[in-house]
Protein backbone atom coordinates (compact mmCIF):
# COMPACT_ATOMS: atom_id res chain seq x y z
CA UNK A 1 0.00 0.00 0.00
CA UNK A 2 1.42 3.34 -0.95
CA UNK A 3 -1.39 5.64 0.00
CA UNK A 4 -0.14 8.79 1.69
CA UNK A 5 -3.05 10.54 3.29
CA UNK A 6 -2.40 14.22 3.70
CA UNK A 7 -5.68 15.65 2.49
CA UNK A 8 -7.74 12.58 3.21
CA UNK A 9 -6.29 11.52 6.58
CA UNK A 10 -9.55 11.99 8.47
CA UNK A 11 -12.08 11.43 5.71
CA UNK A 12 -13.26 8.23 7.38
CA UNK A 13 -14.62 10.23 10.36
CA UNK A 14 -18.25 11.33 9.84
CA UNK A 15 -17.77 14.21 12.33
CA UNK A 16 -14.96 15.65 10.17
CA UNK A 17 -17.76 17.23 8.13
CA UNK A 18 -18.60 19.53 11.05
CA UNK A 19 -16.67 22.47 12.44
CA UNK A 20 -16.15 20.75 15.81
CA UNK A 21 -14.98 17.52 14.20
CA UNK A 22 -12.66 19.36 11.83
CA UNK A 23 -11.17 21.48 14.62
CA UNK A 24 -10.68 18.40 16.80
CA UNK A 25 -8.18 17.20 14.19
CA UNK A 26 -6.28 20.47 13.94
CA UNK A 27 -8.60 22.12 11.46
CA UNK A 28 -8.41 25.93 11.16
CA UNK A 29 -5.17 26.02 13.20
CA UNK A 30 -3.34 27.21 10.10
CA UNK A 31 -5.60 30.26 9.64
CA UNK A 32 -4.15 32.33 12.54
CA UNK A 33 -0.65 31.30 11.48
CA UNK A 34 -1.26 32.40 7.89
CA UNK A 35 -2.93 35.67 8.86
CA UNK A 36 0.21 36.64 10.78
CA UNK A 37 2.40 36.04 7.72
CA UNK A 38 3.02 38.50 4.91
CA UNK A 39 0.79 37.74 1.93
CA UNK A 40 3.85 37.50 -0.30
CA UNK A 41 5.40 34.95 2.04
CA UNK A 42 2.41 32.67 1.50
CA UNK A 43 2.63 33.07 -2.27
CA UNK A 44 6.37 32.32 -2.13
CA UNK A 45 5.75 29.23 -0.03
CA UNK A 46 3.11 27.96 -2.48
CA UNK A 47 5.52 28.65 -5.36
CA UNK A 48 8.31 26.80 -3.55
CA UNK A 49 6.01 23.83 -2.88
CA UNK A 50 5.65 23.22 -6.61
CA UNK A 51 1.88 22.83 -6.22
CA UNK A 52 0.19 22.54 -9.60
CA UNK A 53 -3.49 22.96 -10.41
CA UNK A 54 -5.36 19.78 -9.62
CA UNK A 55 -8.37 20.45 -11.84
CA UNK A 56 -6.80 19.32 -15.08
CA UNK A 57 -4.39 21.84 -16.57
CA UNK A 58 -1.65 21.33 -13.98
CA UNK A 59 -0.58 24.97 -14.07
CA UNK A 60 1.71 26.04 -11.19
CA UNK A 61 -0.57 27.60 -8.58
CA UNK A 62 1.89 30.12 -7.14
CA UNK A 63 2.76 31.36 -10.62
CA UNK A 64 -0.95 31.81 -11.43
CA UNK A 65 -1.33 33.91 -8.29
CA UNK A 66 1.72 35.90 -9.34
CA UNK A 67 -0.08 37.15 -12.46
CA UNK A 68 -2.41 39.30 -10.38
CA UNK A 69 -1.83 43.04 -10.68
CA UNK A 70 0.14 44.42 -7.78
CA UNK A 71 -2.21 47.32 -7.10
CA UNK A 72 -4.97 47.19 -4.51
CA UNK A 73 -7.71 46.64 -7.09
CA UNK A 74 -10.56 44.41 -5.76
CA UNK A 75 -10.13 40.81 -6.80
CA UNK A 76 -12.05 37.55 -6.55
CA UNK A 77 -11.13 34.04 -5.55
CA UNK A 78 -13.25 31.43 -7.33
CA UNK A 79 -13.16 27.79 -6.43
CA UNK A 80 -13.77 25.53 -9.39
CA UNK A 81 -16.01 22.76 -8.09
CA UNK A 82 -17.72 22.14 -11.41
CA UNK A 83 -16.12 18.70 -11.61
CA UNK A 84 -17.46 17.43 -14.92
CA UNK A 85 -14.53 15.65 -16.53
CA UNK A 86 -15.88 12.14 -17.08
CA UNK A 87 -14.31 9.77 -14.59
CA UNK A 88 -13.65 12.40 -11.93
CA UNK A 89 -15.34 12.25 -8.51
CA UNK A 90 -12.72 13.47 -6.06
CA UNK A 91 -13.96 17.03 -5.49
CA UNK A 92 -17.39 15.70 -4.68
CA UNK A 93 -15.91 13.51 -1.95
CA UNK A 94 -13.80 16.38 -0.62
CA UNK A 95 -16.80 18.70 -0.31
CA UNK A 96 -18.94 16.01 1.29
CA UNK A 97 -16.40 14.69 3.75
CA UNK A 98 -14.39 17.83 4.51
CA UNK A 99 -16.12 21.08 3.50
CA UNK A 100 -14.18 23.00 6.15
CA UNK A 101 -10.90 21.88 4.65
CA UNK A 102 -11.81 23.70 1.45
CA UNK A 103 -13.00 26.78 3.36
CA UNK A 104 -9.74 26.91 5.34
CA UNK A 105 -7.72 26.66 2.14
CA UNK A 106 -9.79 29.44 0.62
CA UNK A 107 -9.35 31.78 3.61
CA UNK A 108 -5.58 31.36 3.44
CA UNK A 109 -5.46 31.67 -0.35
CA UNK A 110 -7.72 34.73 -0.31
CA UNK A 111 -5.47 36.38 2.24
CA UNK A 112 -2.42 35.60 0.10
CA UNK A 113 -3.90 37.17 -3.02
CA UNK A 114 -5.68 40.01 -1.21
CA UNK A 115 -9.23 38.95 -2.07
CA UNK A 116 -12.21 39.77 0.11
CA UNK A 117 -14.84 37.87 -1.81
CA UNK A 118 -14.91 34.29 -2.93
CA UNK A 119 -17.33 31.95 -4.63
CA UNK A 120 -17.38 28.19 -4.82
CA UNK A 121 -18.90 27.31 -8.19
CA UNK A 122 -20.38 23.84 -7.79
CA UNK A 123 -21.97 21.84 -10.58
CA UNK A 124 -25.75 21.85 -10.30
CA UNK A 125 -26.16 18.11 -9.83
CA UNK A 126 -24.08 18.18 -6.63
CA UNK A 127 -27.04 18.95 -4.39
CA UNK A 128 -25.65 17.14 -1.35
CA UNK A 129 -22.13 18.63 -1.58
CA UNK A 130 -23.74 22.07 -1.83
CA UNK A 131 -25.76 21.34 1.29
CA UNK A 132 -22.54 20.30 3.09
CA UNK A 133 -20.75 23.46 1.98
CA UNK A 134 -23.59 25.79 2.94
CA UNK A 135 -23.79 24.26 6.40
CA UNK A 136 -20.02 24.54 6.85
CA UNK A 137 -19.95 28.16 5.63
CA UNK A 138 -22.65 29.05 8.17
CA UNK A 139 -20.62 27.41 10.92
CA UNK A 140 -17.48 29.23 9.81
CA UNK A 141 -19.25 32.60 9.85
CA UNK A 142 -20.62 31.91 13.34
CA UNK A 143 -17.11 31.08 14.54
CA UNK A 144 -15.64 34.30 13.13
CA UNK A 145 -13.65 32.41 10.49
CA UNK A 146 -15.45 34.13 7.63
CA UNK A 147 -16.78 37.67 7.29
CA UNK A 148 -15.37 40.85 8.79
CA UNK A 149 -12.14 40.92 10.76
CA UNK A 150 -11.42 37.19 10.74
CA UNK A 151 -10.15 36.09 14.18
CA UNK A 152 -9.40 39.74 15.00
CA UNK A 153 -6.79 39.97 12.25
CA UNK A 154 -8.39 42.86 10.39
CA UNK A 155 -8.75 40.65 7.29
CA UNK A 156 -12.23 40.37 5.75
CA UNK A 157 -13.35 37.52 3.52
CA UNK A 158 -16.87 36.65 2.43
CA UNK A 159 -17.61 33.30 0.84
CA UNK A 160 -20.68 32.12 -1.04
CA UNK A 161 -21.69 29.07 -3.07
CA UNK A 162 -22.95 29.33 -6.65
CA UNK A 163 -24.86 26.43 -8.12
CA UNK A 164 -24.27 25.69 -11.81
CA UNK A 165 -26.98 24.15 -13.96
CA UNK A 166 -25.47 21.40 -16.07
CA UNK A 167 -22.75 22.31 -18.55
CA UNK A 168 -19.35 20.63 -18.79
CA UNK A 169 -17.85 23.75 -20.32
CA UNK A 170 -18.34 25.68 -17.07
CA UNK A 171 -15.36 23.75 -15.71
CA UNK A 172 -13.19 25.80 -18.07
CA UNK A 173 -12.24 28.81 -15.97
CA UNK A 174 -13.47 31.55 -18.28
CA UNK A 175 -16.63 29.54 -19.03
CA UNK A 176 -17.17 29.40 -15.29
CA UNK A 177 -16.72 33.15 -15.02
CA UNK A 178 -19.27 33.70 -17.82
CA UNK A 179 -21.70 31.43 -16.02
CA UNK A 180 -21.21 33.21 -12.70
CA UNK A 181 -21.92 36.47 -14.50
CA UNK A 182 -25.31 35.08 -15.53
CA UNK A 183 -24.35 34.33 -19.11
CA UNK A 184 -24.22 31.16 -21.18
CA UNK A 185 -21.13 29.35 -19.93
CA UNK A 186 -19.04 30.21 -22.96
CA UNK A 187 -15.29 30.61 -22.54
CA UNK A 188 -13.69 33.98 -23.21
CA UNK A 189 -10.77 34.77 -25.45
CA UNK A 190 -7.43 35.00 -23.61
CA UNK A 191 -5.61 37.29 -23.04
CA UNK A 192 -6.69 38.99 -20.92
CA UNK A 193 -6.30 36.12 -18.51
CA UNK A 194 -8.67 36.00 -15.53
CA UNK A 195 -5.88 37.07 -13.17
CA UNK A 196 -5.89 40.40 -14.99
CA UNK A 197 -9.54 40.61 -16.06
CA UNK A 198 -11.92 37.95 -14.83
CA UNK A 199 -15.22 37.98 -12.98
CA UNK A 200 -16.97 41.30 -13.69
CA UNK A 201 -13.72 42.32 -15.40
CA UNK A 202 -11.91 42.34 -12.07
CA UNK A 203 -8.75 40.33 -11.38
CA UNK A 204 -9.82 36.79 -10.57
CA UNK A 205 -8.08 33.61 -9.51
CA UNK A 206 -9.79 30.31 -10.29
CA UNK A 207 -8.45 27.26 -8.47
CA UNK A 208 -9.72 23.71 -8.14
CA UNK A 209 -11.07 22.29 -4.85
CA UNK A 210 -8.11 19.98 -4.32
CA UNK A 211 -5.61 22.74 -5.11
CA UNK A 212 -7.10 25.13 -2.56
CA UNK A 213 -7.36 22.42 0.08
CA UNK A 214 -3.67 21.60 -0.39
CA UNK A 215 -2.62 25.21 0.32
CA UNK A 216 -3.43 24.78 4.03
CA UNK A 217 -0.97 21.89 4.39
CA UNK A 218 1.76 23.75 2.52
CA UNK A 219 1.44 26.66 4.92
CA UNK A 220 1.05 24.39 7.96
CA UNK A 221 4.10 22.20 7.30
CA UNK A 222 6.09 24.28 4.85
CA UNK A 223 6.94 23.84 1.19
CA UNK A 224 9.81 21.48 1.89
CA UNK A 225 7.62 19.09 3.85
CA UNK A 226 5.08 19.17 1.01
CA UNK A 227 7.82 18.29 -1.45
CA UNK A 228 8.72 15.13 0.49
CA UNK A 229 6.02 13.43 -1.54
CA UNK A 230 6.00 13.24 -5.29
CA UNK A 231 8.73 13.95 -7.79
CA UNK A 232 10.93 16.99 -8.40
CA UNK A 233 8.57 18.50 -10.97
CA UNK A 234 5.34 16.91 -9.75
CA UNK A 235 5.40 17.49 -6.02
CA UNK A 236 2.97 16.37 -3.35
CA UNK A 237 0.13 13.91 -3.29
CA UNK A 238 -2.83 13.73 -5.64
CA UNK A 239 -6.26 12.23 -5.40
CA UNK A 240 -6.90 9.77 -8.18
CA UNK A 241 -10.46 8.81 -9.02
CA UNK A 242 -10.29 5.29 -10.34
CA UNK A 243 -13.31 3.90 -12.16
CA UNK A 244 -14.17 1.24 -14.67
CA UNK A 245 -13.44 -2.47 -14.64
CA UNK A 246 -11.39 -2.84 -11.45
CA UNK A 247 -12.30 -4.71 -8.28
CA UNK A 248 -12.21 -1.68 -5.96
CA UNK A 249 -12.87 1.59 -7.79
CA UNK A 250 -12.65 4.73 -5.66
CA UNK A 251 -10.61 7.80 -4.72
CA UNK A 252 -7.03 7.14 -3.66
CA UNK A 253 -4.49 9.68 -2.44
CA UNK A 254 -0.99 8.67 -3.48
CA UNK A 255 2.25 10.59 -4.07
CA UNK A 256 2.64 11.92 -7.60
CA UNK A 257 4.93 9.64 -9.56
CA UNK A 258 3.22 6.51 -8.25
CA UNK A 259 3.25 3.71 -10.86
CA UNK A 260 -0.12 3.42 -12.58
CA UNK A 261 0.08 -0.37 -12.54
CA UNK A 262 0.53 -0.35 -8.74
CA UNK A 263 -2.51 1.88 -8.36
CA UNK A 264 -4.59 -0.58 -10.38
CA UNK A 265 -3.18 -3.79 -8.91
CA UNK A 266 -2.70 -2.76 -5.27
CA UNK A 267 -5.08 0.01 -4.27
CA UNK A 268 -7.83 -1.04 -6.66
CA UNK A 269 -7.47 -4.79 -6.18
CA UNK A 270 -6.66 -5.46 -9.82
CA UNK A 271 -8.93 -6.48 -12.64
CA UNK A 272 -12.12 -8.45 -12.13
CA UNK A 273 -11.72 -12.24 -12.11
CA UNK A 274 -10.97 -13.69 -15.51
CA UNK A 275 -10.46 -10.30 -17.14
CA UNK A 276 -7.33 -8.73 -18.55
CA UNK A 277 -6.27 -5.11 -18.66
CA UNK A 278 -6.79 -3.69 -22.12
CA UNK A 279 -6.44 0.08 -21.82
CA UNK A 280 -6.48 2.99 -19.38
CA UNK A 281 -7.51 6.59 -19.81
CA UNK A 282 -5.23 8.12 -17.18
CA UNK A 283 -6.50 11.67 -16.69
CA UNK A 284 -10.20 11.97 -17.44
CA UNK A 285 -11.97 11.38 -20.74
CA UNK A 286 -10.02 14.14 -22.53
CA UNK A 287 -6.69 12.36 -22.01
CA UNK A 288 -5.38 10.10 -24.78
CA UNK A 289 -5.85 6.41 -23.97
CA UNK A 290 -2.92 4.15 -23.03
CA UNK A 291 -2.58 0.52 -24.10
CA UNK A 292 -1.82 -2.14 -21.49
CA UNK A 293 1.85 -2.13 -22.55
CA UNK A 294 2.04 1.63 -22.06
CA UNK A 295 0.29 1.39 -18.70
CA UNK A 296 3.16 -0.77 -17.45
CA UNK A 297 5.55 2.13 -18.14
CA UNK A 298 3.38 4.94 -16.76
CA UNK A 299 3.92 6.80 -13.52
CA UNK A 300 1.20 9.08 -12.27
CA UNK A 301 2.95 12.41 -12.61
CA UNK A 302 2.72 15.21 -15.14
CA UNK A 303 6.01 14.43 -16.88
CA UNK A 304 5.76 10.65 -17.13
CA UNK A 305 2.31 10.82 -18.70
CA UNK A 306 3.31 13.65 -21.04
CA UNK A 307 6.21 11.43 -22.13
CA UNK A 308 3.67 8.79 -23.14
CA UNK A 309 1.71 11.33 -25.15
CA UNK A 310 -1.11 11.67 -22.66
CA UNK A 311 -1.81 13.71 -19.54
CA UNK A 312 -2.52 13.58 -15.83
CA UNK A 313 -5.54 15.86 -16.25
CA UNK A 314 -7.93 15.72 -13.35
CA UNK A 315 -6.51 12.45 -12.08
CA UNK A 316 -9.43 10.38 -13.30
CA UNK A 317 -8.15 6.91 -14.12
CA UNK A 318 -10.62 4.97 -16.27
CA UNK A 319 -9.71 1.31 -16.49
CA UNK A 320 -10.91 -0.74 -19.45
CA UNK A 321 -10.76 -4.53 -19.60
CA UNK A 322 -10.58 -6.96 -22.51
CA UNK A 323 -14.33 -7.49 -22.67
CA UNK A 324 -14.86 -3.90 -23.86
CA UNK A 325 -15.25 -2.73 -27.45
CA UNK A 326 -13.12 0.36 -28.11
CA UNK A 327 -15.32 1.50 -31.01
CA UNK A 328 -18.34 1.43 -28.71
CA UNK A 329 -16.45 3.28 -25.93
CA UNK A 330 -15.22 5.97 -28.30
CA UNK A 331 -18.83 6.41 -29.40
CA UNK A 332 -19.70 7.26 -25.80
CA UNK A 333 -17.00 9.94 -25.77
CA UNK A 334 -17.81 11.50 -29.15
CA UNK A 335 -21.43 11.77 -28.05
CA UNK A 336 -20.34 13.52 -24.86
CA UNK A 337 -18.19 16.15 -26.58
CA UNK A 338 -20.80 16.81 -29.27
CA UNK A 339 -23.34 17.35 -26.50
CA UNK A 340 -21.06 19.62 -24.46
CA UNK A 341 -19.48 21.84 -27.12
CA UNK A 342 -20.68 25.33 -26.30
CA UNK A 343 -21.10 26.13 -29.98
CA UNK A 344 -18.98 29.24 -30.00
CA UNK A 345 -16.07 28.18 -32.26
CA UNK A 346 -16.74 26.54 -35.61
CA UNK A 347 -14.02 23.84 -35.53
CA UNK A 348 -15.38 22.54 -32.24
CA UNK A 349 -19.11 22.94 -32.89
CA UNK A 350 -18.90 21.30 -36.31
CA UNK A 351 -16.03 18.97 -35.52
CA UNK A 352 -17.55 17.37 -32.43
CA UNK A 353 -20.81 16.86 -34.32
CA UNK A 354 -19.12 15.24 -37.30
CA UNK A 355 -16.89 13.00 -35.19
CA UNK A 356 -19.98 11.73 -33.45
CA UNK A 357 -21.92 11.25 -36.69
CA UNK A 358 -19.09 9.35 -38.36
CA UNK A 359 -18.49 7.20 -35.30
CA UNK A 360 -22.15 6.31 -34.98
CA UNK A 361 -22.38 5.54 -38.70
CA UNK A 362 -19.62 2.99 -38.10
CA UNK A 363 -21.33 1.66 -34.98
CA UNK A 364 -24.62 1.29 -36.81
CA UNK A 365 -22.99 -0.65 -39.65
CA UNK A 366 -23.04 2.18 -42.18
CA UNK A 367 -19.30 2.89 -41.99
CA UNK A 368 -16.86 2.97 -44.92
CA UNK A 369 -13.16 2.21 -44.61
CA UNK A 370 -12.27 5.77 -45.57
CA UNK A 371 -14.30 6.96 -42.56
CA UNK A 372 -11.43 5.91 -40.31
CA UNK A 373 -9.13 8.33 -42.13
CA UNK A 374 -11.88 10.92 -42.07
CA UNK A 375 -12.10 10.65 -38.27
CA UNK A 376 -8.38 11.34 -38.04
CA UNK A 377 -8.58 14.22 -40.50
CA UNK A 378 -11.47 15.92 -38.71
CA UNK A 379 -9.82 15.44 -35.32
CA UNK A 380 -6.51 16.83 -36.60
CA UNK A 381 -8.30 19.93 -37.80
CA UNK A 382 -9.84 20.56 -34.40
CA UNK A 383 -6.57 20.88 -32.51
CA UNK A 384 -5.33 24.27 -31.34
CA UNK A 385 -7.89 26.25 -33.31
CA UNK A 386 -10.41 27.33 -30.73
CA UNK A 387 -10.89 29.64 -27.74
CA UNK A 388 -10.73 26.86 -25.17
CA UNK A 389 -9.39 23.32 -24.89
CA UNK A 390 -12.68 21.45 -25.36
CA UNK A 391 -12.04 21.02 -29.06
CA UNK A 392 -8.63 19.45 -28.41
CA UNK A 393 -10.17 17.40 -25.61
CA UNK A 394 -12.65 15.97 -28.11
CA UNK A 395 -10.02 15.31 -30.77
CA UNK A 396 -7.37 13.61 -28.62
CA UNK A 397 -9.41 10.57 -27.54
CA UNK A 398 -10.44 9.99 -31.16
CA UNK A 399 -6.87 10.09 -32.42
CA UNK A 400 -5.56 7.82 -29.67
CA UNK A 401 -8.40 5.29 -29.82
CA UNK A 402 -8.26 5.01 -33.61
CA UNK A 403 -4.47 4.91 -33.85
CA UNK A 404 -3.92 2.43 -31.02
CA UNK A 405 -6.87 0.13 -31.64
CA UNK A 406 -7.16 0.53 -35.38
CA UNK A 407 -7.83 -3.13 -36.12
CA UNK A 408 -10.99 -2.97 -34.00
CA UNK A 409 -12.25 -0.01 -36.05
CA UNK A 410 -11.38 -1.69 -39.35
CA UNK A 411 -13.07 -4.92 -38.28
CA UNK A 412 -16.18 -3.00 -37.26
CA UNK A 413 -16.37 -1.22 -40.62
CA UNK A 414 -15.84 -4.45 -42.61
CA UNK A 415 -18.16 -6.69 -40.62
CA UNK A 416 -20.67 -4.20 -39.29
CA UNK A 417 -20.23 -5.60 -35.79
CA UNK A 418 -17.87 -5.42 -32.84
CA UNK A 419 -14.72 -7.53 -33.00
CA UNK A 420 -14.74 -7.96 -29.22
CA UNK A 421 -18.43 -8.44 -28.54
CA UNK A 422 -19.23 -10.15 -31.82
CA UNK A 423 -22.52 -8.28 -31.95
CA UNK A 424 -23.91 -5.17 -33.64
CA UNK A 425 -24.52 -1.89 -31.84
CA UNK A 426 -28.27 -2.56 -31.71
CA UNK A 427 -27.67 -6.00 -30.22
CA UNK A 428 -25.26 -4.58 -27.66
CA UNK A 429 -27.60 -2.00 -26.20
CA UNK A 430 -31.23 -2.61 -26.99
Amino acid sequence: MAEVKILTEFYHLPEYQTLAGYQAKGGYETVPKALKMQAQQIIDEVKASGLRGRGGAGFPTGMKWGFLPKNGEPRYLLCNADEGEPGTFKDRMMMERAPHQLIEGMIISAFAIGSHKGYIYVRGEYVYPIECLNKAIQEAYAAGLLGKNILGSGFDFDLDVYRGAGAYICGEETGMISSLEGLKGQPKLKPPFPAVQGYLRKPTIVNNVETLAAVTYIIRDGAQAYRKNGTEKSSGTKLFSVSGNVVKPGNYEVPLGYPLMNLIMNECGGMKPGRKLKAVIPGGSSAPVLTAEEVAKANMDYESLAGLGTMLGSGAVIVIDDSQCMVDMLGVLTHFYAHESCGQCTPCREGTGWLNKILHAILEGRGRLQDIELLIKVADNMKGKTICALSDAAALPVLSFVNKFREEFEFYVREGRSKVKGTTYAEMHH
Binding site: G87, R92, G124, L200, S243, G244, I318
Partner: protein, 157 residues
Amino acid sequence: MFKLSEQGLAEVKKELARYEAKESAIIPSLYIAQKENSGFVNPSVIHHLSQVMDIPEARINEVFKFYTMFNQKPVGKYHVQVCTNISCALEGSREMAGYICHELGVKYDEVTADGRFTVSKVECLGSCGTAPMMQVNDYYHEKLTPESAMNLLRGMK
Protein backbone atom coordinates in the same frame (compact mmCIF):
# COMPACT_ATOMS: atom_id res chain seq x y z
CA MET B 1 -49.99 32.03 -17.05
CA PHE B 2 -47.19 31.20 -14.65
CA LYS B 3 -46.75 33.29 -11.54
CA LEU B 4 -44.30 32.72 -8.70
CA SER B 5 -45.75 32.05 -5.28
CA GLU B 6 -45.21 34.69 -2.62
CA GLN B 7 -42.37 32.65 -1.20
CA GLY B 8 -40.88 32.05 -4.65
CA LEU B 9 -41.01 35.74 -5.38
CA ALA B 10 -39.26 36.52 -2.09
CA GLU B 11 -36.56 33.99 -2.96
CA VAL B 12 -36.00 35.52 -6.40
CA LYS B 13 -35.75 39.00 -4.84
CA LYS B 14 -33.18 37.65 -2.39
CA GLU B 15 -31.11 36.22 -5.26
CA LEU B 16 -31.31 39.55 -7.10
CA ALA B 17 -29.70 41.28 -4.13
CA ARG B 18 -27.17 38.52 -3.45
CA TYR B 19 -24.63 39.05 -6.23
CA GLU B 20 -22.61 41.96 -7.56
CA ALA B 21 -24.31 41.59 -10.96
CA LYS B 22 -28.04 41.06 -11.00
CA GLU B 23 -27.79 38.76 -14.04
CA SER B 24 -26.07 36.27 -11.73
CA ALA B 25 -29.54 35.72 -10.28
CA ILE B 26 -30.88 34.26 -13.56
CA ILE B 27 -29.72 30.68 -12.92
CA PRO B 28 -30.91 30.56 -9.28
CA SER B 29 -34.23 32.14 -10.28
CA LEU B 30 -34.77 29.62 -13.07
CA TYR B 31 -34.31 26.86 -10.47
CA ILE B 32 -36.90 28.48 -8.21
CA ALA B 33 -39.40 28.95 -11.05
CA GLN B 34 -38.84 25.47 -12.50
CA LYS B 35 -39.63 23.93 -9.12
CA GLU B 36 -42.90 25.87 -8.93
CA ASN B 37 -43.83 25.00 -12.52
CA SER B 38 -43.91 21.19 -12.05
CA GLY B 39 -40.30 20.72 -13.05
CA PHE B 40 -39.98 22.48 -16.37
CA VAL B 41 -39.70 25.95 -17.86
CA ASN B 42 -41.91 27.32 -20.66
CA PRO B 43 -42.30 30.75 -22.30
CA SER B 44 -44.77 31.84 -19.65
CA VAL B 45 -42.15 31.23 -16.94
CA ILE B 46 -39.57 33.23 -18.89
CA HIS B 47 -42.07 36.06 -19.39
CA HIS B 48 -42.89 36.23 -15.68
CA LEU B 49 -39.24 36.09 -14.58
CA SER B 50 -38.41 38.84 -17.06
CA GLN B 51 -40.99 41.11 -15.46
CA VAL B 52 -40.05 40.26 -11.89
CA MET B 53 -36.31 40.58 -12.50
CA ASP B 54 -36.42 43.44 -14.98
CA ILE B 55 -34.15 41.53 -17.35
CA PRO B 56 -35.08 41.04 -21.06
CA GLU B 57 -36.76 37.74 -21.92
CA ALA B 58 -34.12 36.96 -24.56
CA ARG B 59 -31.42 37.31 -21.93
CA ILE B 60 -33.13 34.81 -19.60
CA ASN B 61 -34.05 32.54 -22.48
CA GLU B 62 -30.48 32.11 -23.70
CA VAL B 63 -29.37 31.04 -20.23
CA PHE B 64 -32.35 28.68 -19.87
CA LYS B 65 -31.58 26.98 -23.20
CA PHE B 66 -27.87 26.60 -22.51
CA TYR B 67 -28.00 24.56 -19.31
CA THR B 68 -29.22 20.97 -19.30
CA MET B 69 -30.71 21.05 -15.81
CA PHE B 70 -33.53 23.29 -16.97
CA ASN B 71 -36.16 21.12 -18.59
CA GLN B 72 -37.78 22.33 -21.76
CA LYS B 73 -40.53 19.71 -21.60
CA PRO B 74 -42.62 18.41 -18.68
CA VAL B 75 -41.01 15.59 -16.72
CA GLY B 76 -42.51 12.99 -14.43
CA LYS B 77 -42.75 13.39 -10.65
CA TYR B 78 -39.51 11.44 -10.51
CA HIS B 79 -36.90 12.38 -13.06
CA VAL B 80 -34.66 9.35 -13.42
CA GLN B 81 -31.33 10.37 -14.90
CA VAL B 82 -29.03 7.49 -15.72
CA CYS B 83 -25.38 8.36 -16.37
CA THR B 84 -24.30 6.74 -19.62
CA ASN B 85 -20.85 8.30 -19.85
CA ILE B 86 -17.76 6.15 -20.06
CA SER B 87 -17.17 4.94 -16.49
CA CYS B 88 -20.80 3.98 -16.04
CA ALA B 89 -21.02 2.56 -19.59
CA LEU B 90 -18.09 0.26 -18.75
CA GLU B 91 -20.19 -1.11 -15.90
CA GLY B 92 -23.40 -1.59 -17.87
CA SER B 93 -25.33 1.64 -17.37
CA ARG B 94 -26.74 1.77 -20.89
CA GLU B 95 -28.17 -1.71 -20.49
CA MET B 96 -29.57 -0.60 -17.12
CA ALA B 97 -31.19 2.50 -18.63
CA GLY B 98 -32.73 0.36 -21.39
CA TYR B 99 -34.06 -2.11 -18.81
CA ILE B 100 -35.65 0.67 -16.75
CA CYS B 101 -37.40 2.09 -19.82
CA HIS B 102 -38.59 -1.36 -20.80
CA GLU B 103 -39.96 -2.10 -17.33
CA LEU B 104 -41.69 1.28 -17.10
CA GLY B 105 -42.99 0.95 -20.67
CA VAL B 106 -41.68 4.34 -21.72
CA LYS B 107 -39.17 5.85 -24.15
CA TYR B 108 -36.33 8.14 -23.07
CA ASP B 109 -37.40 11.65 -22.05
CA GLU B 110 -41.10 10.80 -22.12
CA VAL B 111 -43.41 10.81 -19.11
CA THR B 112 -45.00 7.53 -18.00
CA ALA B 113 -48.79 7.36 -18.39
CA ASP B 114 -49.26 7.72 -14.62
CA GLY B 115 -47.08 10.83 -14.58
CA ARG B 116 -44.61 9.31 -12.14
CA PHE B 117 -41.44 8.86 -14.20
CA THR B 118 -39.28 10.32 -16.91
CA VAL B 119 -36.12 8.41 -17.78
CA SER B 120 -33.20 10.30 -19.33
CA LYS B 121 -29.69 9.31 -20.31
CA VAL B 122 -27.27 11.96 -19.03
CA GLU B 123 -23.57 12.74 -19.08
CA CYS B 124 -21.11 12.11 -16.24
CA LEU B 125 -22.54 12.89 -12.80
CA GLY B 126 -19.30 12.46 -10.86
CA SER B 127 -20.23 9.13 -9.38
CA CYS B 128 -17.87 7.04 -11.48
CA GLY B 129 -16.44 4.90 -8.68
CA THR B 130 -19.90 3.68 -7.75
CA ALA B 131 -21.17 2.84 -11.23
CA PRO B 132 -23.71 2.28 -12.53
CA MET B 133 -25.78 4.98 -10.92
CA MET B 134 -28.83 7.14 -11.41
CA GLN B 135 -29.95 10.47 -10.06
CA VAL B 136 -33.62 10.63 -9.13
CA ASN B 137 -34.60 14.26 -8.64
CA ASP B 138 -31.94 15.55 -6.20
CA TYR B 139 -30.66 12.19 -4.98
CA TYR B 140 -27.88 9.90 -6.18
CA HIS B 141 -28.44 6.15 -6.11
CA GLU B 142 -25.17 4.30 -6.61
CA LYS B 143 -23.75 0.80 -7.16
CA LEU B 144 -26.92 -0.33 -8.87
CA THR B 145 -27.95 -3.33 -10.90
CA PRO B 146 -30.87 -3.14 -13.34
CA GLU B 147 -32.99 -5.04 -10.80
CA SER B 148 -31.98 -2.97 -7.77
CA ALA B 149 -32.63 0.23 -9.72
CA MET B 150 -36.11 -0.97 -10.65
CA ASN B 151 -36.82 -2.01 -7.07
CA LEU B 152 -35.95 1.48 -5.88
CA LEU B 153 -38.17 3.05 -8.53
CA ARG B 154 -41.11 0.77 -7.74
CA GLY B 155 -41.01 2.11 -4.19
CA MET B 156 -41.36 5.71 -5.38
CA LYS B 157 -45.05 6.50 -5.40
